[in-house]
Amino acid sequence: MSSPGDEPDRAPSPAGPSDQGGTSVAGTATVHGSRDAARDDLLGYLSRNTMDADYALVAARSAESGRSRDSRGSRWATAVVLAVFLVLVMTLFTQTTQNADSEDNERSQLIGQVGQQQKALGERQGAVARLAASNTRVRAQLLTGTGSGLIGRVERLGLRAGTVAASGPGVLVVVDDAPNAAEARNRVLDSDLQKLINGLWEAGGEAIAINGQRLTNLSSIRQAGAAINVNFVGLSAPYQVEVIGDPDTLPSRFAETTSGATWFDLQQRVGLRFSMSVRSSLELPAAERTPLRYATVIKEGDDS
């Protein structure tokens, strides 16, 4: 039973140095049976036929004919070739070291730039927070008398939207990955967190923060590698979710939602850790304001 790759005829090896009888030089590679050898043992063939067969061939031929092998001209050619070879090697060395240097330089420059921009960003954010606080003060001063109703409205809306710090009784939910979580399956994913948050809103939550990140109507909860980005800030397990709401009814209402059922399932089957405890007073920070890009105010007379 022959394998499909076999050739039916084994052609004799091409005429080569192995035919040169008595002047074979010990240790040189021969081209004998090259085709079969190549098919059976590629590495062996490669390591046997490493030197140009021409060396043996020319040596044998010149030994036979008695003429000297090379003229002076060809010696100069060898010298030139060797010189070219070394020039190539030196050029490559210098080229590589130069490239490595410039790459290192670029890298440290980039790192420096990133640090600078991060510092500038931090300063700008601090300025924004200060200006927002002074805005609120000035607004309170201006809206006195008939306008005082507006202040209350702004604060209520800010509470709902998450742009104003909030405090009150509520519930603390701590979720964590399964113990010894090796793969993504056993970790808390962004979809799990989203379901949890939706369930908490449904159960009567009025203000929610994850690991100190206040959730607004524009907040995103998105997976980024091993961390979850909330409001574009990377958070990692365990996730502490603070919810301001009615501490008496929230836990039971949450258990009745589909998210509650999903999380019960996750606990049982995947092993995610979940704990909910009542807190008599929680303080949630305000969210950083994200400017509205598409929504504009409806200008239709005054409504109070």
């Binding site: 030089v25 240790g27 040189t28 590495l43 490669l46 390591s47 046997r48 490493t50 030197m51 140009d52 021409d54 060396y55 043996a56 020319v58 040596a59 010149s62 092998r69 090379d70 060809s74 010696r75 100069w76 050619a77 060898t78 010298a79 030139v80 070739v81 060797l82 010189a83 070219v84 070879f85 070394l86 020039v87 190539l88 090697v89 030196m90 050029t91 490559l92 210098t94 080229q95």
Partner: protein, 110 residues
């Protein structure tokens, strides 16, 4: 010997002049050098075995370098540049190792 003279001239030119490689030639330089190394080691082995021939050396050197560069060029055009050059370097590396092993045997046992 004239060959040694060539070596010295090459080193001096390389170190002193520090020639700048044109940009279009740069990706082919490393593999050309490896191919050249293979030809040089083959020549050294032939020299130690007594079958050295200048003509064969020059021809094998030039053809190795040109072929290696052509293979890399072809690979780039076909989109398999990395794989082709890996194959070429593997084969050249095996040949270099075999030749150096033979050279070592010839030097220390002969």
């Amino acid at each position: 010997m004239i060959a040694v003279l060539g070596l010295l001239v090459g080193v001096l030119v390389g170190v002193v002049l520090q020639p700048d490689v044109p940009l279009w030639l740069e990706p082919y330089l490393p593999i050309a050098v490896v191919a050249a190394l293979d030809a040089v080691f083959g020549a050294a082995r032939a020299f130690l075995e007594g079958t050295f021939s200048d003509r064969v050396f020059v021809i094998s050197f030039v053809s190795n370098v040109v072929l290696a560069a052509l293979i890399v060029l072809l690979g780039d055009k076909l989109g398999v540049g990395a794989q082709l050059s890996t194959g070429v370097i593997v084969v050249l590396g095996i040949r270099i190792f075999s030749n150096t092993a033979a050279i070592r045997r010839l030097i220390f046992h002969a």
